[in-house]
């Protein structure tokens, strides 16, 4: 990537940098003895887990350390001049020569001013010699360069009218508008969905070639950093433990921390599911059976009379059989959460049926629903928000029994203690408040609360998302053991492909409220039937050789608004294989053999042989 015509020149040179949190109690080191160089046109990736000091490193370079953080030693040389000691010099660089993009695009601009006005304001502040008119033209030109559709119109829109991905593009424009020599990109893809994050990364690499900017790319995912960078530096406990070319790093990691990191990385294709799930018998009755479920919400939207209809769930079809591990994956806004509310009976579908062991949950009386709730339980996503504050662990566990008036006081107590033992929580915690529990322990408590009613079905709504790899592994083992003991059926709702690859036997992929593909695990990953599934797989961060090339599968643009869905296939606007019929008709799920389903017109032809190129000219 750095094969420019101009010779590379060292832009930033960090020498022996140490940063500490200094307060009355003393100095606690955050970064120790960091040294590296970045040359123009090069991308240096920095990875590390939270707490490794990578964000502090980014902030030291942009002179944005707030108390109690302080540079205690070393220098940061920008074009040969130290910006740690020369604060006045650092101020002239801010936003002009050293640009910064953070991981929170939604809160990065003043919500009360238009995006365009703020881009112009910034450029005029750092380059007073540029006229407002030129600044404006440059802003619009760059907005076009980052592929914001109808840039001259969107120039006059406010930040809240931009989606997260679009806003991150705006922040890239904001950073590059002053032609900086160095760009600090701190976790810029973190809040974005994988397909959008992949677009942003691709864009960043293209711009890097065009603008000859040096980039310090900070992120927490090793595959993403390896994909994006010319060199990768690994931070651990505030120290640089490794600094290599990405290929060398993956092939021959030197430090034990990096070795562990690479070994722990989940894979999509190399290993199969953790333990081959026994295929549940499909001849018995399904425990959950969803048929054409649909749910719309009415929201008050700005500048429109009355309410707008948001079609959150539609055309959802699947069966889950007893003993199954069923996965539901999709990006934000795909209707996973709405579907979860329908499955748990928190809301009733507008049409279609949700049968729990043959009984329609959507039409059950409130009283019957309360009884049914004992049989299917939900384990929530947020380990901190999901536990009622100010209740002791014992009380939290006994609450479900009290609600359903089960057992005497002492029986409830015994039952609570026994589930605590089952999920691996120490008995001594019974009287304690959940305050000091780790995220993993909290999720164990959540699981314990769900299984105390002895349900048959457990719905895991992003239950593992907040946990690190090691902790995830432990909980998955726990789930397996509980399943073996109690015969639970699990539904995992997740955005994490590697997790569902590991545990699920069948997986449904959702896009804009629909199930676009339902297939057994191996089939989904090795022979996906829907182009959206292929795009998801191509964007998944992994170090493996990709089965699906991002160049072929990566999506352009963003999903259409669920308020006014286009007719035909909802995916048509982003589909690489789109043809006429897709804009007229909505393909519903169709069988591809071997209990796999996908909603794409190309399937019929796929299954009967290769599709002739003429038939789907875009």
């Amino acid at each position: 990537m750095a094969l420019g015509t101009k010779a590379s020149q060292t832009v930033l040179s960090v020498r022996n940098l140490s940063v500490a949190a200094v307060d009355a109690a003393g100095a606690r080191p955050i970064l120790s003895d960091i040294s590296f160089d970045i040359e123009s046109r090069r991308v240096l990736g920095v990875i590390g887990e939270s707490g490794s000091g990578k964000t502090v490193l980014a902030r030291s370079i942009v002179s944005w350390l707030t108390a109690p953080l302080k540079v205690t030693a070393g220098e940061i040389m920008f074009h040969g001049r130290d910006i740690v000691t020369d604060q006045a010099y650092a101020r002239t660089l801010a936003g002009r020569e050293i640009a910064y993009i953070g991981g929170n695009p939604a809160g990065a601009l003043d919500p009360t001013m238009t995006v365009g006005a703020q881009l112009v304001e910034k450029l005029s502040a750092v380059r007073p010699d540029i006229s407002t008119r030129d600044a404006r033209d440059k802003a619009i030109r760059l907005l076009e360069a980052v592929r914001i559709p109808s840039a001259d119109r969107r120039f006059h829109e406010y930040p809240f009218q931009y989606s997260g991905g679009m806003m991150q593009r705006v922040m890239i424009v904001d950073a590059l508008i002053s032609d900086p020599a160095l760009l600090i990109a701190d976790n810029i893809t973190q809040p974005l969905d994988v397909t959008i994050a992949a677009q942003i990364l691709k864009l960043m690499r293209e711009l890097n070639e065009e603008f000859s900017t040096a980039i310090l790319f900070i992120c927490s995912s090793l595959p993403v950093a390896c994909d994006a960078s010319d060199d990768v530096m690994v931070l651990h406990d505030g120290r640089v433990v490794e600094h290599q070319k990405p290929e060398a790093l993956v092939a021959a990691p030197q430090h034990s921390y990096t070795k562990g990191l690479i070994a722990e990385l989940p894979t999509l294709w190399q290993d199969g599911p953790a333990s081959e799930p026994q295929s549940p018998t499909r001849d018995q009755q399904a425990i959950i059976s969803v048929r054409s479920a649909a749910k719309a919400y009415y929201v008050h939207s700005r500048g429109q009379a009355g309410m707008s209809r948001v079609q959150a769930v539609r055309n959802v079809d699947f069966d889950v059989f007893p003993g199954d591990n069923f996965g539901i994956v999709g990006e934000s806004g795909c209707g996973k959460s709405s579907l979860m509310r329908l499955l748990t009976g928190l809301e009733r579908p507008d049409s279609g049926t949700i049968l729990f062991k043959g009984e329609n949950v959507g039409e059950a009386s409130p009283r019957r629903l309360r009884e049914l709730r004992r049989k299917f339980q939900l384990v929530l996503q947020d380990p901190y928000g999901s536990l009622p504050p100010q209740s002791s662990i014992g009380n939290i566990l006994e609450e479900p029994l009290k609600i359903h008036r089960i057992g005497s006081r002492s029986e409830r107590r015994d039952r609570a203690r026994s589930v605590m033992a089952e999920v691996g929580l120490s008995d001594t915690l019974y009287e304690h408040l959940p305050t000091n529990l780790s995220a993993g322990q909290r999720q164990r408590l959540n699981v314990a609360r769900a299984i105390i009613l002895e349900p048959q079905l457990l719905i895991m709504d992003e239950t593992l998302s907040a946990l690190d790899q090691t902790e995830q592994g432990k909980l998955l083992t726990l789930f397996e053991r509980l399943q073996a003991q109690h015969g639970f059926t699990y539904i995992f709702i997740s955005h994490d492909l590697t997790m569902v690859r590991r545990v699920c036997s069948r997986i449904a992929v959702m896009y804009l409220g629909e199930t676009v593909e339902v297939a057994p695990n191996d089939r989904l990953f090795f022979d996906p039937g829907h182009p959206y599934t292929r795009a998801l797989l191509s964007a998944a961060p992994t170090l493996e050789a990709r089965r699906y090339r991002p160049e072929e599968c990566l999506l352009e643009g963003e999903p259409p608004s669920p308020i006014d869905l286009p007719p035909g296939c909802a995916f048509a606007s982003r589909c690489p294989n789109v043809f006429d019929r897709c804009h007229r008709e909505n393909p519903t799920l169709r069988a591809r053999g071997n209990s796999a389903l996908a909603s794409c017109f190309l399937i019929d032809e796929h299954e009967s042989g290769p599709i002739p190129q003429e038939s789907h000219n875009a």
Binding site: V62, S63, W64, A94, G95, R96, A99, Y100, G102, N104, G107, A108, L109, D110, P111, T112, M113, E121, K122, A125, V126, Y158, F160, D174, S178, H300, R302, G303, A305
Partner: protein, 326 residues
């Protein structure tokens, strides 16, 4: 388009609010003891005559009939006539029975229209004083949370809010008007008579503005886009004056809208202390004389003013912050 729809919806809600207020006040005045006719007619009037006047005036009809009659008047802009005030001025009533025909009694609407400008003058001046006192202190405190400007603001607003307006009025009249003879007070004979009452009112309002402003400035200053603005290369002046202040204006505006009724409450007492001939003094006299139509009229007019002011405030707020969508 947005503005028209917004106004239509809010005015409709406003009509409902004014209707509820009317119903509330109307009912309250009918269920509490105390016969206004006795007061009007005077203590010496024979019982039969009182009954007759009451019946003539429709005061013996069921409440809902009276209310319907009253509201149909209100809808046509007729707030009725005062029980006790003649069209010319001074209050009637007392020991002698005066058989004035109803046409000679003052129109409630006229009484309010005559006094309202005085009160608006007082309220506006008070608001200006309050903003002059509170804005610098509030911003200064908000930019330095936890440090001494913030503490000064806290102590100052705690003291201001602890000064009962009537007592402060008396003390300031004694000191500034009687002893030092700096400003005139008591009664009204020119604009100068507005200054002291407005100042007392301003002291009453200022602490709320100080508190709201310091909290909102501090919270805006801690937001991500402010922190990141310096990294993007904006100067401190740009950050504070173009971004922070604009963003903290919305909570302040909302406070001013809600505090309007507090302002009116203060006006009432201040006008009484300073014998200032405005709406507040009119209200207190109306209550003391059991002048029901006048009390109702004032309640309806103030509720309507409250509604209009809040619509106006929300409209400005949407101009400042386009995310808002009322």
């Amino acid at each position: 388009m947005f503005v028209v729809r917004f106004l239509a919806r809010r005015l409709f809600q406003g009509v409902i609010i004014v209707f509820l207020v009317s119903a509330l006040i109307f009912t309250l005045l009918r269920v509490v003891p105390g016969d206004p006719v006795r007061l009007m007619a005077g203590g010496m009037a024979p019982e039969a005559l009182i009954e007759q006047i009451a019946t003539d005036m429709g005061l013996r009809d069921p409440i809902y009939v009276q209310f319907a009659r009253y509201m149909s008047g209100v809808a046509q802009g007729d707030l009725g006539q005062s029980f006790v005030r003649p069209a010319s001025g001074a209050a009637l009533g007392g020991a002698s029975f005066d058989d004035t025909t109803r046409s000679e009694r003052a129109e409630v609407l006229t009484l309010i229209a005559e006094t309202a400008p005085m009160t608006i003058q007082l309220a506006l001046l008070a608001m200006i004083f309050a903003l002059i006192i509170a804005i610098p202190i509030g911003i200064w405190a908000g930019l330095n949370p936890g440090r001494w400007p913030d503490r000064i603001a806290l102590y100052l607003s705690s003291i201001f809010v602890s000064l009962p307006n009537f007592w402060l009025g008396i003390v300031l009249v004694l000191l500034l008007s009687v002893k030092l003879q700096l400003v005139p007070a008591i009664g009204y004979d020119g604009f100068a008579y507005t200054i002291l009452p407005a100042f007392v009112l301003a002291i009453e309002i200022a602490p709320f503005i100080i508190r709201a402003l310091s909290v909102s400035v501090a919270s805006v200053m801690s937001q991500n886009f402010i922190a990141i603005a310096a990294v993007r290369g904006l100067t401190q002046t740009q950050i504070v004056f173009r971004h922070a202040l604009k963003n903290s204006a919305v909570p302040l505006l909302n406070l001013l809208g809600v505090q309007f009724s507090m302002l009116l409450g203060g006006v009432l007492v201040i006008e009484f202390i300073f014998d200032y001939p405005g709406l507040g003094l009119l209200t207190i006299n109306a209550v003391l004389q059991r002048d029901f139509p006048l009390i109702q009229g004032i309640a309806i007019v103030t509720a309507a003013a409250f509604v209009l002011i809040n619509i106006f405030v929300d409209l400005i707020a949407t101009v400042i912050d386009p995310r808002l969508d009322y």
